[in-house]
């Protein structure tokens, strides 16, 4: 396959100002380091029905809601936002499933 399309990631939380922005920064760093082209945006819960993404990254408390209302091929639920290894592991696993 030639040049890959950037994957579309949405970092989502309740209001879109706190945890989503926090996740967006971390997700961008991880994907950049891994050399995976991506467009990362933020969204809040009220936007769920309008989201179309390859991956939604959010917390476990909101994951089910996004699973039901948004359109995404993968939902990544991060339990500890301070644990970069957890975010990286779950995110890269989701990217692999997209490609597989």
């Amino acid at each position: 396959m030639a040049r890959k399309q950037p994957i579309r990631v949405v970092a989502a939380c309740g209001l879109g100002t706190g945890t989503a922005l926090y996740l967006k920064m971390t997700v961008e760093e991880i994907l950049k380091k891994a050399g995976i082209p991506a467009v990362v945006e933020t969204a809040d819960a009220s936007l769920a029905p309008t989201i179309t993404a390859d991956i939604i990254v959010t917390g476990p408390d909101l994951a089910e809601m996004f699973r039901q209302r948004a359109r995404a091929r993968e939902i990544v639920a991060v339990t500890n936002y301070g644990n970069r290894a957890e975010i990286q592991e779950k995110l890269l696993a989701a990217v692999q499933r997209l490609e597989g």
Binding site: C13, G14, L15, G16, T17, G18, T19, L21, Y22, M25, T26, A45, T58, G59, P60, D61, L62, T79, N80, Y81, G82, N83, R84
Partner: protein
Amino acid sequence: MSGFLEALNGRIRIVERVGSWTEAVRISGELLAADGLVDPSYVDQMIRTCEELGPYIAIAPGVAIPHARPEDGARAFGLSIVVVQDGVYFGSHNDPVHLLIAFATPDRSAHIEFLRQLAELLARTDEMVQALIRLEDASRVQAYLRDLLENRS
């Protein structure tokens, strides 16, 4: 760019215990309101957000970041900290919460630097929470956070 400690500006409260998570969130919000950073409605909305959307603000073991939207009555960017020594239950996988870091931001970008520094603190969540619940006064909490932020690797 606004640093964590400048944005905190001494708004630190240490309590041994609270009756509920709503009480803890209210204390954190009232610290912001007392300095005119938010309207009283912002504090109510911080609580309502959790009631409606669940305890997703408990983002790391022992740590929660109560906040509401800019348009809910945030007048200026600022933080407050509440340490609950005995811990409080939000109904989250990250319970019990001992450290609340509340924030208000008047737009969606004033707090980017804060979120960056928050990431540095959360990278050491366990040691930070264990240390903070043993401190008996606010100035020590501030000094401890200063050390963590300045000695970042």
